[in-house]
Symmetry: C2
Subunit: 146 residues, 2 copies
DNA sequence: TAATTTAGTTTGAACTTCAAAATATCTAAT
DNA sequence: ATTAGATATTTTGAAGTTCAAACTAAATTA
């Protein structure tokens, strides 16, 4: 059916990704978690970087440190993180996840995995190594290029 | 190299997508356009729906009509859209793009196309019909399912 | 005509973001 | 040791983004 790569990728970029975020946000809401997807992404970033300083987290998220400060203020307020300054270099601030944050992330990850698994299964992508390798290449491309 | 489909798709979803939006936002800024990517998406949605009423545009964007009202207020303010009520049903409001909006969209589309083309070329995806068909399937899946 | 439905706007509150200014701490150079 | 500069973070002000709920206006239905 001679699909145009550009058109397909565009559609994915402007429609599908947004929709997935909407679905995940809706799910959080349904689970009674009053966090936005943005706030969940902050929690995920805290998990991923080492050490979890403001600068490292902000770089991971590609936002300014000032932006992150306000986000962390809210998350501390809501009981999802704590701050502690580095004893070796007191300018640095470490951010830690609370038990509540870990529980929320677990639930969110489970939902996310279920959704992705359903897509993979419904579309028979499991055995499609060509697709997976290409997508991996795209990820690596962006990691290295920008 | 036995890539895990779930892991690859996750990475794409949480990192690559955000990064592309950041790059496009940066480019707009560099071109001297003081619109956010969100505002550009509103302009794109206006272009795509027919007729371009508030409800149709909001549905396309998956936001409430109230949210769209405030977005359109800003875009009218900045000179990117105009409002006109339907003469047949005066409850309905049509939203039109101005010349300035069309010019901005043209420039943004060109940049977006260049970026996508560069990725396709750099990664040799052009001939990869398996990839493109799979991605198309993913798009269709979301269009029909949700 | 009255009641209901539909289309959109307004409002209040919370969240998101950045740039620029301010604060605090550390490091390097004198 | 003092000073100057660099680094890490927070604060502030302004503009955007979003939703739910209350509101207005116009069309439809009973």
């Amino acid at each position: 059916m001679a699909l145009k790569p550009k058109k397909v990728i565009n559609e994915l970029l402007v429609e599908v990704f947004n929709q997935i975020l909407n679905i995940e946000q809706q799910k959080l809401h349904d689970m009674g978690v009053s966090l936005s997807m943005n706030e969940v992404h902050v929690l995920e970033a805290i998990e991923k970087v080492d050490p979890p300083t403001m600068s490292n987290i902000a770089r991971k998220l590609r936002v300014t440190v000032g932006t992150l400060t306000t986000a962390i203020n809210r998350l501390v307020e809501k009981g999802y993180c704590t701050r502690a300054s580095d004893q070796a270099d007191r300018r640095k601030v470490f951010v830690y996840l609370t038990h509540q944050a870990n529980e929320t992330l677990k639930k969110h990850d489970a939902f996310h995995d279920d959704m992705i698994n359903a897509i993979i299964e419904d579309l028979n992508l499991e055995e499609n190594t060509v697709l997976i390798e290409s997508l991996h290449k795209v990820s690596e491309y962006f990691k290295n290029k920008y």
